[in-house]
Homo-oligomer: 154 residues x 2
């Protein structure tokens, strides 16, 4: 039986996880799906990427969708879909705040939990250096709408 | 170091896995991302869904994107992104062929491998019954373009 998640449950899932799948639009209007690592806070998903197709797409069309899931005991699952707007973080203070949040979440919790697509695993220093690199785009998704579901045993 | 996958490697990844993330477009033009279970064959991804938003979206706009990933030993990963066209399977023979492929892949291999979002786990019979249900839409994504990457240690 599939049940709807409350706002509190959705927020808790986004906070607990740091890995999801982002959908955006390419210039030709087709969808594009890529895995992302993120840190949730302030009703936003903070994330980063090196310059490339994903960033080009989001700059052209900032409407994005991020889906985050979690396997629970007994083969049950829960999943949140969040829609929002891509916003590039260019101001020094914004970048520093995002970086601090990302380092805390991905280093202290995320890296140990998720083994896939979490870059810069070798040391916190190299991760910080990479995220501070000019080629690394820091951004946030300002969440506008969310929906969440989970499987419940009867 | 990120390397590009060959056609053979991408096909092998899609065959090995049965779980990915599908992106499609909603009527208002925003992207929509959902997990799917699939079976790869004949340059198509065969899948199923009960009637709902995902099916409505793909009927309105058949351009979809499916991303499939795999964690490898030593924290390495590989990932394929496939773009293609949604096609609903309505003819009896097409439905039977897709059903056979899905049951073989998800039952014989997939269910044991992936614990999340594989429905009808209790018995092959109940899965077959559910997929044969009139409310269950069988469809395929006819792949038109693929790209694949993997992380290589130096």
């Amino acid at each position: 039986m599939i049940e709807t998640m409350s706002d509190k449950e959705m927020e808790e899932l986004l906070t607990t996880r740091c890995y999801g799948h982002l959908g955006c639009l390419m210039d030709d209007g087709r969808p594009y799906v890529v895995p992302i690592t993120y840190a949730y806070g302030y009703n936003c998903l903070f994330s980063f990427s090196f310059e490339g197709q994903k960033i080009d797409c989001m700059r052209s069309n900032p409407d994005v969708c991020v889906q985050v899931e979690q396997a629970l005991e007994g083969d049950r699952w829960r999943s949140v879909i969040a829609w929002g707007e891509f916003e590039e973080l260019t101001e020094e203070q914004e970048r520093t705040n995002a970086l601090t949040l990302l380092l805390n979440r991905l280093w202290n919790e995320g890296v140990k939990e998720h083994s896939i697509f979490v870059p810069f695993r070798n040391s916190e220093k190299s991760m910080e250096a990479a995220l501070n690199d000019e080629g690394c785009v820091l951004f946030r998704v300002n969440i506008e709408e969310m929906t969440g579901r989970y499987e419940k045993y009867e």
